[in-house]
């Protein structure tokens, strides 16, 4: 369970996250949606202990993120940020292997090796494993970062816009992967998405943010509503049912 209680973050005079409280149940996929600047990444950064909140508390699996030793937390919680660019020259396999660091502390076992190979295969990077990251396309690089986080094999996984730069095939594959991790391994997956139809299709819970506040949260059926979406995105959005799914059209 991730419990966020009355979290506030201000930069100067602007309140970026405004007294947010929310509880995300253990197991399942939660999508966070909302317009640019809504505060999604800021909230995720605070859950991931990259950023300290001005007030409020956050616990992940019962552990307070500001008080738990960082190396303990790293075995439970993995976070991928929105923008990742590296100055160092690493191969895909190097990068993914570092995902094992919290468990192995640099001494790689056969078990670690297996996790690395699995994660590389899962993200369709087997043919690229020995290539340097600066020799990959943007989407391939993004998949390598996702593989690193998957390889960390934590109960809680937070991904900030993991579908950045990805083509439809790979975007759907990653969302399936996220869903399977939640279903089969009972992991708690939190994903920030801009594609509301992806959110509609693959999530158990959708949380909508705007202006630093949570404006709605619930099942896809509750959130994918024309009035609500139109108001959140300040754009006219229609919703049509297709089979068992709700599809937003804009």
């Amino acid at each position: 369970m991730i419990a966020v209680e009355k979290i506030t973050k201000t930069y100067g005079s602007s309140v970026v996250v405004d007294g947010v409280s929310i509880t995300l149940p253990k197991g399942g996929v939660t999508s966070i949606i909302g317009p640019n600047g809504a505060g999604k990444s800021t909230l995720l950064s605070m859950v991931g202990r990259f950023l300290s909140a001005d007030s409020g508390t956050i616990t992940v699996g019962g552990l307070d993120v500001t008080k738990t030793p960082s190396d303990e937390l790293a075995k439970r919680l993995a976070v991928l940020r929105q923008d990742n660019h590296l100055a160092v020259r690493l191969t895909v396999r190097d990068l993914v292997s570092f995902g094992r660091y919290p468990h192995s502390k640099g001494r790689y076992t056969v078990e670690d090796e297996r996790h690395v190979n699995e994660a590389i295969a899962m993200l369709g990077l087997s043919g690229l494993a020995d290539r340097f990251l600066d020799e990959l396309s943007g989407g391939q690089r993004q998949r390598a970062f996702v593989a690193m986080v998957i390889c960390q094999d934590t109960e809680y996984v937070l991904l900030d816009e993991p579908l950045n730069n990805l083509d439809i095939k790979h975007a759907v594959e990653i969302m399936r992967l996220v869903q399977q991790a939640a279903r089969r391994l009972n992991k708690t997956m939190v994903v920030v998405l801009h594609d509301i139809n992806m959110a509609s299709t693959f999530s158990d819970v959708i949380v909508a943010m705007k202006n630093g506040q949570i404006v709605a949260s619930g099942s896809p059926a509750e959130i994918i509503q024309p009035d609500l979406l139109s108001q959140i995105y300040e754009t006219e959005i229609k919703v049509v049912p297709v089979g068992s799914r709700l599809v937003a059209i804009y």
């Binding site: 991931g48 190396d71 976070v79 690493l90 191969t91 396999r93 190097d94 570092f98 660091y101 919290p102």
Partner: protein, 322 residues
Amino acid sequence: MKSTLPALLLAGFILLVLAVASLFVGVSDVSLSSLMSGDAKSLQVLLVSRAPRTAALILAGSSMAIAGMIMQMLARNRFVEPSTIGTVESASLGILAITVLAPGAPVIAKMITASVFAMAGTAIFLRILKFVPLRSVLLVPLVGIMLSGIIGAITTFFAYRLDLLQSLGAWMTGDFSVVLKGRYELLWIAGALGIAAYIAADRFTVAGLGQHFTTNLGLNYRRVMLLGLTIVSLVTASVVVTVGSVPFLGLIIPNVVAMMVGDNMRRSLPWVAILGAGFVLVCDIFGRLIIRPYEMPIGAVMGVIGAFFFLYLLLRRTSRAA
């Protein structure tokens, strides 16, 4: 990535050959035959001067190259090394301070003072980087050059006032001809720090990924930075105190190795150490041979080769980008 071990062993072997060659190059004749015939003077020269010099070259070369690589990880920039960001200048300022305040202090005290100053100077550099908003690739080395210019100017000012310019020159330009038994042993500390760096290699690579990745993997970013800072400062101080600054090395070698095997320090650090030592040995042998019986200072040889190489790196980069 294919295993680089066979190639690494070959490189190690070549280094060994260079080291042996370095033992037999110089003004007074030391040869295998003179040693075999039991010539006491030859043996004396070998033990008191040649062997320490070769050891000093290897230790200083490998440890300065490693220090350069660590610095590049900490600054997350390819174009920095201890002599371009103020670490060397700060160490010199430290030696100057203790020379003036406690002239009779033992060399270890000099080294400690130099280390403290080096650490402070490098910490200032890293601190300034925190405030550079857009981390442009070129801005980082520019900040370093400016800072080292300022610290260098302060040092020169005091050295001038105190009539110590000549000593300052000795600290700032590497010279291995002064190495004798009993006067280079501090460099073993630098060598030991190189091994410490290998043990902590994964941490430095993770730090090179940046603060967020480091935190996500459960490491304390500040602690890793502090560890790296300490190693870089101690290595620089011990080298500057014993043989003087060896510039460019920390820039060239890690860049070459990054092109060859990448930046995973667990894999690249042995390469950096071997190539660093090898490069210094080659430059030193070259400097001893080119104007025999005189010696060309190693700093000059390295400066020329290093400048050409740096140019090549930059041009290669731009032609790749174009």
